[in-house]
């Protein structure tokens, strides 16, 4: 479902590569966890995957569609939950969701029923008529998740999705990710919460200083079952070490 071939990116105002020759393949029906320390290149990879940034080299395909050649078709397949919660603060929740829905070609009763369903699920029904600027961090995160789902995407890309969520919503989100993947779709998410990655993901990748240092199922990466993912992560990403 998602393919990255030799993807590299260097920011205009930086010398070092943010992402260096990254190759990844993520299948349908899979929850894929993307791990790495701060500044490792996780968000840059996600931004390239969602069409926000253009890679310097390499190709990215979503469901067989090259995002550089057909950006609009590829983007239409993705539901994106960013990590920064920057939204249009002076819009109401409902207005924002209508805007996003229209951009993805979902309007009318379909949009209304989806908004009602997800708003109810995340207990956001009462909050949606209010301005986004008045939302808490967690509420913005929930709105972001709903906005990513209103067009029923095939690929769900989430950057640090659990940050700021209350325990009920975090649980609900994890359940949704599983259900979404079980329906044949793909979930690609980055997280710092290793426990969650350990419990939810089918496969994981670890990136450090822009380079992929490990990618496999948790069992295969962790050859010794007694070693926790946390200590494995710390070993792999520590200075001078790479697998």
């Amino acid at each position: 479902m998602i393919r990255l071939y030799n993807v590299s990116k260097t920011y205009a105002k930086a010398n070092a590569k943010a992402v260096d020759d990254l190759t990844l393949e993520i299948n349908s029906g899979e929850i894929f966890g993307f791990l790495g320390p701060n500044g490792a290149g996780k968000s840059t990879t996600i931004k390239m995957l969602t069409g926000i940034l253009t890679p310097d080299s390499g190709t990215i395909e979503i469901d067989g569609i090259n995002i550089a050649e057909n950006p609009l078709r590829a983007k239409a397949l993705i539901g994106f939950v960013p990590d920064n919660h920057e939204m249009y603060e002076t819009l109401k929740g409902t207005e924002y969701l209508k805007f996003i829905g229209t951009m993805y070609g979902v309007t009318g009763d379909t949009l209304k029923s989806r908004i009602d369903k997800y708003a109810d699920m995340f207990e956001m029904t009462d909050a949606l008529p209010n301005l986004i600027g008045s939302y808490s961090h967690g509420m913005k995160q929930k709105l972001s998740v709903i906005a990513a789902l209103v067009h029923d995407p095939k690929v769900w890309v989430l950057d640090e999705p659990l940050t700021g969520l209350d325990p009920q919503s975090a649980f609900q989100l994890k359940q949704m990710m599983r259900k979404f993947a079980d329906e044949g779709n793909t979930v690609f998410f980055s997280s710092h919460v290793i426990d969650v990655v350990e419990k939810v993901c089918d496969r994981i990748a670890i990136i450090n200083r822009g380079k992929l240092v490990a990618v496999d199922t948790l069992e295969n990466i962790r050859s010794d079952n007694k070693v926790s993912l946390e200590s494995l992560f710390l070993t792999i990403t520590s200075d001078g070490e790479s697998k």
């Binding site: 920011y11 205009a12 105002k13 931004k47 969602t50 069409g51 926000i52 940034l53 253009t54 950006p71 609009l72 078709r73 590829a74 983007k75 239409a76 993705i78 994106f80 960013p82 920064n84 920057e86 939204m87 249009y88 603060e89 002076t90 819009l91 109401k92 409902t94 207005e95 209508k98 805007f99 996003i100 829905g101 229209t102 951009m103 993805y104 309007t107 009318g108 009763d109 949009l111 209304k112 908004i115 029904t125 009462d126 909050a127 949606l128 008529p129 209010n130 301005l131 600027g133 008045s134």
Partner: protein, 570 residues
């Protein structure tokens, strides 16, 4: 004191942070732009300076007249600085960032006020150079005048600061009292701003500015006439100026014939200005504290409860974009105010201009009545007004000047949508043009009714303005797209030093020059042969060029937009 200085330095430098690290190529471009702008504006500046020189010469350095000039400078400082005072000092968006610091609220307030003052110094210095310096030269003032000129730069902003603060407080209080809705807040702010500026301009009008008695027309010598006019004007000022005592004392110290007079006047001016500063601080600190509390409590107090029946009808991508854009701009206190207040200025200036030239004392003819008698009035006046509208319009429309920078950190939303970027841009340009067109329409309507311009010429002006506006918006949109300012916390500060409005002015200037160059031969032909179709041809040509300009502008924008958009790294 250390905390105050550190905070002031931080807040002041933060405005210019994006200027640092500019590469040499860009710096050269900026210098070139400013040189061109200086050359463009030089004739106007030189004319004003020359007028001030002769005013100084003919009034022999009259203190009342000099005080009036200080008031004029202060009016300009007020006009340009009031936005900054309201949005940087009283709109406390950064409250949560600053309040956790171990610094008292009054220190934060004082630092913000100082930054606003430092910004006003720049405007003051420019006005002093253009107005007071030539006035002193004309009056053959002594060395003391030029020394005090430097001191005056420091003292002149005090009164505008006090007025800005006094204006900002009722605006903010009324907005909080009546404006529960974000739109109402913006509309209230704009109405109050317009009302206050109108009162200021009317006040200047009542002082006799630009009005003269017709009795003077009996004098056939130009110099004598100007002297008569200035004498008449100075007489009108007599008695009024001492009410503006700090300014009156400042001007007296500048023109003082003896050291004792200088010292007494200077000490009085200094003391009164310090008192003004203390008054600003004493009056506005409690208000600032109140705004601080409101800004923190606001978020949690305005939640509505309950499900909302919202409309999900498909209105099309471009219309949805425009609707979303106008909503998010109009509801933002800073953006909404600046976007719409700037545009409203154009019809407001037309009305004020009418007060100056269209109304006369009983029994006298107004200037407008005198010039409308000429058969050439309907030929030349629409072109002059069109030039003015082009010039003011495109450089005040925030919607068209900063369509991408307005997105700020949420720019990633546009980048992740499955919508062609050219469509997004078209929506932005259409929105800016539509808002501008509404303003152009009102202005043209006012011109037709107040300035007795023929309705069909008003219509031609309106159509030309819409085309020129669209073309200019395309160019400014592309400029903003090339180097957008993203990641700001305060729109005003974030866009400090951005050249877009200057470039827009320059583009407008070139457009005006082109239209003037085209019109001159037609005007000469019309004067010679007096045939209506000469004017028709001229307007058709102007309209054609304006339409061509909009098409070319749009083509240039779409040709480069996607490349620039992809280059934006967020």
């Amino acid at each position: 004191m250390t905390k105050y200085l550190t905070l002031t330095k931080l807040l002041f430098l933060q405005q210019f942070k994006t200027r640092f690290g500019i590469d040499k190529k860009k710096r050269r471009g900026t210098i070139a732009l400013y040189v061109v702008l200086i050359l463009c504006f030089a004739p106007t500046v030189v004319t004003v300076a020359a007028m001030m020189y002769f005013a100084g010469k003919f009034t022999h350095g009259n203190a009342d007249f000099g005080t009036f000039l200080i008031l004029l400078c202060q009016g300009l400082v007020l006009m340009f600085g009031i936005h900054a005072i309201i949005s940087n000092v009283f709109v406390v968006k950064d409250a949560e960032k600053l309040l956790y610091l171990p610094v008292r609220a009054y220190v934060i307030f004082l630092a913000k006020l100082t930054v606003a003052y430092l910004n006003e110094l720049i405007t003051t210095a420019v006005t002093v150079l253009v107005v007071l310096l030539p006035f002193g030269m004309g009056a053959s003032a002594g060395v003391g005048y030029y020394f005090m000129l430097m001191v005056s730069v420091v003292l002149i902003p005090m009164l505008p600061m006090l007025l800005s603060t006094l204006i900002a407080m009722p605006i903010a209080a009324l907005v909080n009292l009546f404006g529960k809705n974000s739109y109402t807040k913006t509309v209230l702010r704009i109405l109050l701003y317009v009302a206050i500026m109108a009162v200021y301009m009317y006040g200047m009008y009542r002082l006799g500015f630009l009005t003269g008695s017709e009795n003077g027309s009996a004098l056939d010598n130009t110099e004598e006439y100007v002297q008569y006019m200035l004498g008449d004007f100075t007489d009108k000022l007599n008695g009024a100026m001492p009410y503006f005592h700090p300014d009156y004392m400042l001007m007296n110290s500048m023109l003082a014939p003896t050291f004792t007079t200088f010292l007494l006047s200077f000490l009085a001016a200094l003391g009164e200005n310090v008192a003004l500063l203390a008054l600003v601080f004493a009056v506005s600190l409690p208000f600032y504290r109140r705004m601080l509390t409101l800004s923190i409590e606001e978020g949690s107090s305005r939640h509505k409860k309950g499900k909302e029946n919202f409309d999900t009808k498909n209105i099309g991508t471009i219309r949805q974009f425009m609707l979303t854009d106008i909503k998010k701009t109009a509801r933002d206190s800073q953006l909404g105010f600046q976007s719409f207040a700037g545009i409203i200025m154009m019809p407001l200036i037309v009305v004020v201009l009418y007060f100056f030239v269209g109304i006369a004392d009983d029994g006298d003819s107004s200037l407008l009545q005198l010039i409308t008698i000429s058969t050439r009035y309907q030929v030349i006046a629409p072109l002059v007004i069109l030039a003015y509208m082009t010039f003011i319009g495109s450089s005040t429309n925030i919607l068209g000047l900063y369509p991408i920078s307005r997105e700020n950190r949420a720019i990633y939303i546009l980048k992740s949508l499955p919508v062609s970027f050219n469509k997004i841009l078209l929506a932005k340009v259409l929105l800016a043009t539509a808002v501008m067109a509404a303003c152009d329409f009102i202005t043209c309507l006012l011109i037709v009714f107040l300035f007795e311009i023929e309705w069909y010429l008003g219509l031609a002006m309106f159509a030309t303005m819409v085309f020129l506006g669209f073309g200019s918006m395309c160019i400014t949109t592309l400029l903003d797209l090339k180097e957008p300012r993203l990641g700001w916390d305060n729109f005003n500060q974030g866009l400090k030093g951005v050249k877009n409005s200057w470039i827009a002015m320059l583009i407008s200037f070139l457009t005006v020059v082109t239209i003037a160059a085209i019109s001159v031969p037609f005007i000469i032909l019309f004067v010679a042969f007096d045939k209506w179709y000469i004017m028709l041809l001229m307007w058709l040509l102007i309209l054609g060029i304006a339409a061509g300009y909009s098409v070319v502008g749009y083509k240039i924008m779409t040709a480069k937009a996607t490349k620039y958009f992809e280059r934006i790294e967020v």
